[in-house]
């Protein structure tokens, strides 16, 4: 488990501490808060083949090439030709460094069979040689690989050898030389010959084990006087760049946080994630059983990133690049285009061929090389096979922190063996920022895919399950129907949609019918009204006529009466 002791920041160091000499070995300087103690000898213990010589050499070569400190390599183990040949493949140019006087290799050949002890002696000559070499190139670093040879050559006098070595180390200290001394591990004692009593400033143990047929190397800083150090065992790897201790970050939980949101590439999913997608440099876990579309969903992230012009590293532990590109093309995700533009790089490797440490070391190396904005690990669960339980979680955790601190968004897929358990078996679900789960929804004789957001830190997110559809036109997220029988997906949903559509259609029709009916009624009424009006007009004109006639008659009558009256008046006035 990652503990506070793993991660050593400069602010954690005790006030008065030894100055440190950086080794330049990936990860080691982080564990030790800066490197090895300056001007002191460090004991590097381990069995044959554990990487001691390489560590010592890298310490010197890095010192010479990167930190301006020439070094002397005193070796009892290999001859010069082998040394140059073996390290050439790791990119260490020993010949060149020797020509520039930045490195001096002194090969000590001891043939025990040809040495005859004739009395008392000491190892002054060795020290003279070393002193001469140091002075010749102005060395600041020394490596002695390995002191075992002395004990073997002068096997009758182990006490003498020990005391002479003590004298040598004292000399190294007075000269202010930072030294790496390699030796074998003992069975009951720390070192085979009990050197730890006086080499107690700093002791590093190297180890190599075979677990489940995969060999794993481990390193542990056992003791480091005057300094804090990560106290755990750290896996390390010997790869094409030499020794790498991994996976280590030197940042604790304090890293800069991004508020930028990036699209998942699927509109419906962005919607479920607060409407904007995930945070940049966050970690996203997509888990689900086999065949649920995890890779496809991860690839959407890839597509979205490439569209933004960002570079992506895709680590695939189960499928080849060709398979993935072909499969994704069937859902309209054109990965070949991004590969062609150099934005997308694949690294495909069967999980079972190498130990987990190798995979993670490769990842770190490629991440450093390509500096991507997004990394996909598909699936992270396959890394767990063949590694011991606790180790896996711790190491995946470190990798996630490593990516996060580098500002890289991480998309991990994980296979669940069964639907029931909401766990990836890796215990990393608590570490990731966003956890998407793809499930299979079975109903009405069909299997459809559903997706829900189990968690997404720092944002409001949907708690609904949505249907997740992969088709030739792409990836879609659609809302599900919740019918009386529960969630409906697939054709049941389609059927429900049809029913609704029909219903709506029916209602539309009804409305149309009613409108038509109303129209009809209006027309009818208006016709009726027109008829009534026509009648009325006739009546009106007749009545008017009648009124006119009546008026005429009244006037006629009136004039008659007046006439008669006048006549009567005239008649009465005419008499005999």
């Amino acid at each position: 488990m990652l503990t506070n002791t793993d991660v050593v920041g400069l602010e954690d160091q005790p006030r008065f501490q030894l100055p440190k000499s950086p080794t330049g070995i990936d990860g080691f300087d982080e564990i030790t808060g800066g490197g090895l103690p300056v001007g002191r000898p460090t004991l590097l213990c381990g069995p044959a083949g554990s990487g001691k010589s390489l560590f010592a050499l890298q310490f010197l070569v890095n010192g010479a090439t990167r930190f301006g400190e020439p070094g002397v390599f005193l070796t009892f183990e290999e001859n010069r030709a082998d040394l140059v040949a073996n390290t050439g493949s790791l990119g260490l140019d020993l010949d060149g460094l020797e020509r520039d006087n930045r490195l001096l290799i002194d090969v000590v050949t001891l043939e025990p069979e040809s040495i005859v002890e004739t009395g008392d002696f000491d190892l002054e000559a060795l020290m003279v040689r070393l002193a001469w070499a140091v002075e010749k190139i102005g060395a600041k670093r020394v490596a002695i690989d390995s002191v075992e040879a002395l004990f073997v050559a002068f096997s009758s006098k182990p006490a003498l050898i020990r005391s002479e070595l003590q004298r040598l180390f004292r000399w190294l200290k007075t000269q202010g030389l930072t030294a790496v001394i390699t030796g074998e591990r003992g069975v009951t004692t720390l070192t085979r010959h009990g050197m730890e009593e006086y080499l107690a400033d700093c002791v590093v143990l190297l180890d190599q084990r075979v677990v489940a047929e995969i060999s794993t190397r481990r390193l542990r800083v056992l003791k480091y006087r005057g300094s804090m150090h990560g106290s755990n065992e750290y896996p390390f790897l010997i790869g094409v760049d030499g020794l790498t201790v991994l996976p280590i970050t030197s940042l604790s939980l304090e890293q800069k946080v991004s508020n930028e949101r990036i699209s998942t590439g699927v509109f419906g999913l962005d919607e479920m994630l607060g409407g904007q997608g995930v945070f940049r440099a966050s970690s996203v876990l997509i888990s689900g059983t086999a065949g649920t579309g995890k890779t496809t969903l991860a690839t959407s992230f890839v597509d979205a990133a490439c569209r933004r012009g960002e570079s992506v590293l895709y680590f695939s532990f189960e499928e080849s690049q060709a398979e993935i590109v072909r499969n994704m093309a069937s859902v309209d995700l054109d990965l070949a285009r991004w590969v062609g533009q150099g934005l997308l790089h694949f690294h495909c490797e069967r999980a079972t061929t190498l130990g987990m440490e190798d995979h993670l070391a490769t990842m770190q190396r490629l991440v450093k090389q390509h500096a991507p904005a997004l990394v996909v690990i598909d699936p992270v669960s396959s890394l767990a096979r063949g590694a011991t339980g606790l180790d896996v979680s711790a190491m995946v955790m470190r990798q996630i922190y490593y990516l996060k601190s580098a500002g890289i968004t991480a998309v991990l897929t994980a296979l669940n063996e069964s639907e029931v358990v909401e766990s990836t078996g890796l215990n990393i679900s608590s570490l990731v920022d966003t956890w998407l789960r793809v499930v299979t929804l079975e109903a009405s004789g069909e299997r459809n895919r559903g997706l829900y957001v189990l968690k997404s830190r720092g944002m409001a997110h949907s708690n609904q399950i949505r249907e997740f559809i992969l088709s030739g036109t792409g990836v879609r997220i659609v809302p599900v129907y919740v019918g009386p029988g529960g969630v409906l997906t697939g054709s049941a949903r389609a059927a429900e949609e049809t029913v609704e559509r029909d219903l709506v259609l029916g209602l539309d029709q009804k409305a149309a019918e009613l409108a038509t009916a109303l129209e009809g009624r209006r027309e009818a009424v208006e016709t009726h009204v027109a008829a009534l009006r026509a009648d009325f007009e006739t009546e009106e004109s007749l009545t008017k006529r009648l009124m006119e006639t009546t008026e005429e008659r009244r006037q006629a009558l009136q004039s008659d009466r007046t006439e008669q009256g006048r006549k009567r008046t005239v008649a009465s006035t005419v008499k005999p």
Partner: protein, 100 residues
């Protein structure tokens, strides 16, 4: 040279650390031993490690005093101050006088 299977003369190179009394004693012991046991003489070169560190390196000297028997072959390396005389004689290929 003659065809006789005569033992070759010893060619020796001795490395000592400086001119201390101990070094002087070491040299004396060796000389005495060789004088007594090499009737045909011997070649002895004495090297001070402090004076010639390159030679120390090129000859691969680790212990001191170190005596290289370069001739006759095979080359032998004797480490120590010659207090164990039988061992010295055996290593140099010189006949040892047997004690009763």
């Amino acid at each position: 040279m003659t065809d006789e299977p005569k033992p070759e003369r010893l060619h020796l190179m001795l490395f000592i650390s400086g001119a201390s009394p101990a070094s002087a004693q070491t040299v004396n012991r060796l000389r005495g031993l060789c004088d007594r046991n090499c009737p045909d003489g011997y070649e002895l070169e004495i090297v001070d490690v402090y004076q010639q560190p390159e030679l120390v390196s090129s000859r691969g000297v680790v212990a001191v005093p170190s005596l290289f028997k370069d001739l006759p072959l095979p080359m032998r390396l004797l480490a120590g101050n010659f207090t164990d005389e039988p061992a010295v004689l055996a290593a140099l290929g010189l006949p040892t006088t047997k004690d009763e």
